[in-house]
Symmetry: C5
Subunit: 368 residues, 5 copies
């Protein structure tokens, strides 16, 4: 992985807050990754029998008052234009502090209930195969009695299947409750988490198989990257669980009993996501242990070879050195071995004996 790529794909715990410091609470300033282009707005207005769609609509078209028994869903793709968010927010009666949260894209997932609407902030996670990393964006959902607003940071296809279902399903019985539509949006986003987990799971298994074959320094980087991504995923999912649990137990009149059973099901899904994230975290720690042990095992092997070569040849070298000494051979006590007719052969015999002895010693100690 090139260093530049790694850096680009590193998730940030929160976007630069500096631009915001010193402003009054509720001031509407976009705080997130810099973006360009117009905010794209999709409007879905429907009753049990009819569906009107507006794609890439101007802001004015989003300021709808749905007919009796009808629902309007405004899907805003892009939150970098505060004026758009403000106009829509004001029309549907959203509090300034919540609008601020929509613009400030580093929010923790949470649910807030007011008498008039329910406000949900959560994360959309997507595994970007090109980057080899998880992409995080903030999605805010506001739903009241007859309207649902969804704010995404950019334009994605995550909600396309939901929109297709909305078009097909006539009469739109369940969708006639705004809370069911909001639930469906959240459900679609949570379903995506499973895809991300699958991608992580595959990398985890790939890594595990590689580790068995041969530990490499680059694997340490991969383990560390996985750990980091699971850390950020965890940060997105734990508060979401809490938020959905609040939604499931909520006594707000905006949430119908029919929808409640679906929200409980959704709650089960988030717990499953958390479970898997935690299991993966445990597995990553396990991998790190295995990696470190493998590295130290290889190290030991290397050391053993060094030790054996050295312990075998160092004494032999000494022996050869001894018989290379120049003591005065005129004295009969000085190196008489050199004068023996079979001295050289004895020397080799001694050398081979030493080697054999040491190998026996190594074997007994089970080093070979």
């Amino acid at each position: 992985m090139s260093r530049r790529r790694r850096q680009r794909s590193r998730p940030k715990p929160f976007p630069k807050a500096a631009r915001k410091i010193g402003l009054q609470p509720g001031a509407l300033v976009y705080v997130g990754a810099p973006r360009e282009g117009r905010v794209s707005i999709e409007v879905f207005e429907y009753t049990a029998t009819e569906l009107r769609e507006g794609h890439d609509a101007p802001v004015e078209n989003a300021l709808v008052t749905p007919a009796e028994g009808g629902i309007v869903w405004v899907d805003i793709n892009g939150v970098h234009d505060p004026s758009v968010i403000e106009r829509i927010g004001r029309h549907y009666g959203v509090h300034d502090l919540n609008l601020e949260d929509i613009l400030h894209t580093g929010q923790r997932p949470r649910v807030e209930e007011t008498g008039k609407y329910v406000f949900v902030v959560m994360k959309m996670l997507r595994f970007d195969p090109a980057e080899g990393a998880i992409q995080t964006e903030q999605v805010s959902i506001v739903f009241g009695e007859r309207f649902v607003l969804s704010f995404q940071e950019g334009r994605h296809d995550v909600l396309d299947p939901l929109q297709a279902r909305l078009r097909k399903q006539v009469p739109r019985t369940r969708f006639l409750n705004a809370d069911y539509l909001a639930y469906s949006i959240i459900d679609a986003l949570v379903d995506n988490y499973f895809l991300v987990l699958e991608a992580i799971g595959e990398r985890l298994e790939g890594l595990e198989d590689d580790l068995v074959v041969r530990p490499m320094a680059s694997q340490l980087q991969s383990i560390h990257a996985l750990k980091r991504e699971l850390l950020f995923m965890r940060k997105s999912v734990w508060p979401l669980r809490e938020a959905i649990s609040i939604l499931a137990r909520s006594e707000s009149r905006l949430i119908h009993d029919d929808t409640r059973v679906y929200i409980r099901d959704l709650y089960e899904h988030t717990i499953q996501v958390i479970d898997t994230v935690e299991t993966y975290r445990d597995m990553v720690s396990g991998l790190l242990d295995v990696y470190l042990s493998s590295v130290s095992n290889r190290m030991n092997e290397v050391m053993k070879v060094l030790t054996m070569i050295a312990t075998i040849f160092i004494p032999l070298s000494f022996l050869a050195g001894v018989y290379g000494m120049n003591f005065d051979r005129s004295s009969p006590f000085n190196m008489p071995e050199l004068g023996w007719p079979y001295g050289y052969i004895l020397f080799w015999g001694l050398a081979l004996l030493t080697v054999a002895g040491l190998i026996w010693f190594f074997r007994r100690r089970q080093w070979i």
Copy 2:
């Protein structure tokens, strides 16, 4: 263990979810390991005095309305045919979301109570000696006032003793409560956990005994595999405990007071399983510590031998090298030792003295 086998037996945190993404909640699609063959259905219809059995019955025979005072137990082996599950589920009035859970075999163990039935999802664990690994399957149990449905992923003999007891026990006093029959099924599955734990315990002890004798790299793999299996076992048991605790405290009219004492007993069993799993996890961590220490101890031994050989022979080699130098002996100051009649013997004396000194030094430092 061959690599292929290891891979096959590796438990997955959840089955591929991709096929499911984009469908509406409650859509009935099988999400699990691919399976073939017909779904095998067993039907037990009994009253206090009579028992009618249907083995490998067609779906129609499973759609029973039990007589007054009678109970019907439908044991479905195989959940890969959504149409079968749907027909049976509809007949007994099971909610679509629960049917979806039955088909989606990656559920967390849990209990759900509705007015008409109680829905229990849990895991069946079996230690497969051939694979040397734990096999996990999902078992879903639905029981109402007069019926019990049990859904297994495949055909196993875990419930055979229960069926035998059902046949023998006439009059079937306790079994005339559907909740007692459901409890008996869960109890049979939990009893199996103890067998799995025993198998793990034996491998743990075997590993521990081996570690004392000689640490090997393959043991690290085994420790890691054990850790992983305990991790997955834990994931199956902790939520089960919670589920059974909900059952024990439930105020549903479907659970009779007589059965409650048995469920509390079952609850104690799950706590015992958890306790043992946690103890085993602690023991596995301990084993890892022992393994790593043993490896580093061996490494130290190897290093000590190298050090001793090297520190003894390196100075001696130098000495031999000195007396192999070719300084011009015509000068009386150049290497007069070479001319001494006992020079060679003195050399060996010096060498032995050095060795003795070093050995004394090693002993004093308690290295030998």
Copy 3:
């Protein structure tokens, strides 16, 4: 410690459960370590003024109905004969599931209250100096309004002081409440825990003192064994705390207000035991750190000596090797040093200078 002994004394998380699988809940089968011999029964029947004792009594004598104002205590030593347990249990009205718990000796400590009696399961811990290990046995206590049953796995002297107090104390005011007698039995068992903790504490301190002097591989085994024993002790004490807390807060009419203050005191004792166990666990982890650091410190020392010897003599050997070369001395450029009259002395000077320089270098780096 011989390997055989270690194996015998290793505590098991639970006894073989296999014999039990497939039986109906409440079936009375002994599941524990294999034992032989007759079950020994002691019967104490007393009123305020009178005490009748029966030692090693036949089962029939244990089936007492105490006189008005009297208490009977049946102390059963040995639970490996289901028929004895069943007869006694039936006589005093104990539920089958509780009798099963008495026979199945791998229970977690706990308290169960029914309208007619209170059922307590706990562990007796004894430090066996011969084995050098903790022995665990299950003790079950059942007390009703006028009777106390205590079931031990074997015959021990732990309750002897209590029986002596019972004999001496006339009138037996407090003992006339069955709950106080039951409390006294539990208290005697908990007091024993302190003895076990003392034995562990002494081994811990001995180990700590040894570690400072010299780390050895056997200490690692001892640390590991201590850790394991504390793990099992913890498993016995934590649930006991919970159980006694339930007892202390119980609103059962079987527990009198006078006894409650004693139970609260007992509760404090269990917390003290837990506290000490946890402290010991922390200390054992600390010991492991110290051990590992000591080992690596020694390793470093060894390596430093090797490095110093090698770095001193390897260059010297090279020098000696140089002057052992056989370049043709007829050329004046080839090894003129060999012809110098003081060449050899200069060689030694150079060698000593190198040694001095290296020693200075080591000192500056603070390696010596």
Copy 4:
């Protein structure tokens, strides 16, 4: 980083308490870092339409009784003069124990409600780029129905934007509630936490990028310093979260419903700070792992090179030593190789073969 600087910037868990020991509770003695100079007092007295300011005012001017519908904010910069604190505190009816807390600058963040005022202690954190470290000071806020007192340890510009907003905003609708003003002060301080976190985040990323390039001992120091600063930051933020949660749920009549929504928003901010601190802590631990692994990887590389050089040349040296021996060549069995005409070329051939063989061996073992 020079050692002196490191020492100066090290945050202390609490200031010297010794001067205080033995005094009665509520005795007013300054306990904090030694400071000099006069305490600087700023007074803001305003109604919906009017604002009177007093900068660096004498104590007397701080003892205001605000007009009906007006608010007074006394911002005291410096708490090292107990007499000033005492006079102001007495005037506004603050309890001695709270005044003591203001003077004793090592308080944990917390909230205390009395009938007459709410007392908030918290920490102001500032990242000092000159020191490269976090500066901590205690800020105490007391607010009643018509007054707000803020006590800082020194004079800082953190509250300047708030004062500017106060001046601009006419009519001061929201600021006419003392609780909103107090909230604004706390909010300004918490906003500053984000700046500190950003500074830490940047150092963390810088460190991470450096680690990949080359591990160095100084990085260990930096990791340790970061860990320590996060530890202290954590100590400031966790209790603050609790304090603000108390404030948000408070039923004190001093907190208006309008303000409550802002306090809940503030609560979200503190949770976000905690989240980021915890994430950073996890990342720092991860960094430590990566650092240690990198160090051990480098070590392994070094060892491998040593091993390869040694294993290649030690056998060769032995061979050269052999042919440097002086066995008596008159015997035909003694070193006949030396007499071969191509002996020297054969020697080199053997040497090169050995090298090639070893390199092949290393490659096969994947060491190169």
Copy 5:
């Protein structure tokens, strides 16, 4: 630190319990460190205007019944004489189990409320500079409506400032509530904790500064000792926090509302102590990491030097060995280099080139 000292100063988790085993609950036996000498008793009897003191008083003088509106404080220094404790306890109506707790000095800090008195057990901690260790003693406080009893294990000056305040303060308004006096005693003891923490903090910083300069094995001992002391300190403080929290929330008529605000303040202090203990524990763990890393860093340095010396000189030695071989120079193929007139100079050139090449290699790999 000499070994003997270390051993003496090692805090014990609890005193020998063996003497106590088998006695009935509530039996009064002293269980603590062996002590000698008479128990010293101080009696303070006072009203709003008058104070009578009795120093080293006989037991009889401690058995006071205070006048209407008066308070008696009996400060017992030494609990090793059960008869004294029993007489005083009986006079003031203290329950046997509480008297037992006073004598058994290994109690956990806790609070017990009865209708007639409140019983507080806690630890007095003192840093003994002579021993360089923390001294722990048990202090038990019993207060009723008009009396306060304090039991210390020995005679210390910790309560002297409180007694001085008692003498000075006329009229003794607050002290006329027994609960305020009891609070003052506890407060004095908790204030002492801060002194202990300061002493630990100083040792911690000293250690940290030393570590940076040079890691030594003795530091490991110090880190381990600090860890252990913090472990024991923690064990004293956590339950104390709980105890004081119970006191603060107590609805006993023995605790007046005026005192409650002081107890809450005291509660804050204990939390501050806990906070600091936990921070210190984290710092000690951090130190251990730094120590271990430093040790391994030094090890690496040592190894690098070895590697460089060896890799430079081992090939050179081989070269020198080659030219020391004795091949028969009569063949023109055998070692012609030896005959070259500039052979020796070429040899040195080759040697220097090898060194230069290796140094370049080391530099490129950033080892130097």
